[in-house]
Amino acid sequence: MNRVLSRIEQIYGILTELFPPKFKAEFKEEMKVVFSEIVTAAAKKGKLAFAIACAQEICDLPILIVRTHLEEKAMIKTAHFQPAQFAFRAATSFGLGLSCVKEFAVVFTLLFISALGNRWGWYHVLIASGGCMAAALIGGLLFAFLFGERNQFGWYLVVGALGWFIPFSTALVQSMTNSTIFWGTINILPFLAFALDGAFISMAFCVAKSKKRSFLLPLSITAVLVPILCYIVPQSLEDHFPAYPTIANVMMDVLLIAGAIILAVINGRKHLWVVIAGTLGLPIIYYICIYLAGSLYPLLPTTIANSPLNVVNIIYWIILWLPQGILLGLIISLIFRWQQSAGVEA
């Protein structure tokens, strides 16, 4: 551990070189001492505490380096950068979350479909839920690392993971049902799936920040019930009325989005706009990114369902989702901060 500590301290020392000369001359040595004390104390508490301490130290550096450079040049003498720091963390969390978590879930879906075929049973729902939970844990970890105060790590991890899990498990189980519904040339179901992602991720963000433990129960119940309902309802309808599974899926998505909005409003009225921005923002950002990518290179796949599972496509989707997550994180965090500073009644 001592070796790791000294390496980390060396890396931090190198990173502090990026501060402007005047700031470095005044604070660099002190910062190295304090950093060393913080990570040493965290290391004594365990590996997890050590990892969180390092992540938070490293994440705060870029924005503060830029800030001090700008201040030294007297470009923004009185700018207050806490919102920017918050937005940077949100952009990192949502950007990496959307690309890693979504990628994991999609790869899992494609493997799942190709391995099991279209006719499926109960154990498939369990496997799908397990895969989504594994993917959601990545999202929860990112959430906790970047936003969680050190004594609230578990809370952020659980709420973050549930926030990612519910929409992904819904989309995964629904993807096994033969359902499409078009509005013009746009298939509404993927649009709804993205709205669902945006609604739940932003709602989880608000709930995690508010630290209201009472929300854990409804979220956990939803996480357990949703994959089961998404399986039972369309499946039982499909045999009798071929068009009904689509309607059932659309209704389930709409109900879940409404549920996310209601939960956010109960959590605090100021969170309404954050969740609405997430719900509308993610599908819009998605279609803009797809449009731009398609304009640059028309042969790129436009939906995940049409995208064969290979390395090029996996990288393509990671690259495509990263800016979407970053944009979503920026929008949500800025609206969240704006609502807080506007003093909207909670």
């Binding site: 304090v34 913080i38 130290e57 380096i65 806490q82």
Partner: protein, 118 residues
């Protein structure tokens, strides 16, 4: 009069600034002690990274709300000296002004029976 204007235009303080000033109100402290004190006073809610702490200290030094107060007689574990910071008169006045402002808010809220535990 000019000083009072300075006080008012700088209010409200950010929570981080308030806690740093509050931490230094009792005695001069080095960086790590300030960070730990802020974390403890905020009950773990505010965990400042090193860079956040020092950019805040830099701003407070520039505004003359705090000043350098020499070296801590007790070096860190590896024997490196630790520089300490202390509150200036202006810093103390800022802290008092913010405390009065917060107190007024709480009094107003209590007068409407908000936040009063039954």
């Amino acid at each position: 009069m000019k000083r009072d204007d300075t006080l008012l235009t700088n209010l409200p303080l950010t929570e981080t600034t308030f806690f740093i000033l509050l931490s230094l109100a009792s005695s001069a402290k080095h960086g790590y002690a300030i960070a730990k004190d802020v974390e403890s006073m905020s009950k773990g809610r505010i965990v400042m990274s090193t860079s956040t702490l020092y950019t805040a200290l830099k701003r407070l030094l520039e505004d003359a709300w705090i000043k350098r107060a020499g070296e801590d007689p007790e070096p860190d574990e590896s024997g490196r000296p630790r520089k300490t910071y202390a509150l200036t008169d202006l810093g103390l006045r800022m802290l008092n002004a913010e405390t009065i402002r917060l107190q007024a808010l709480v009094t107003t809220a209590k007068s409407r029976s908000v936040g009063v535990q039954s």
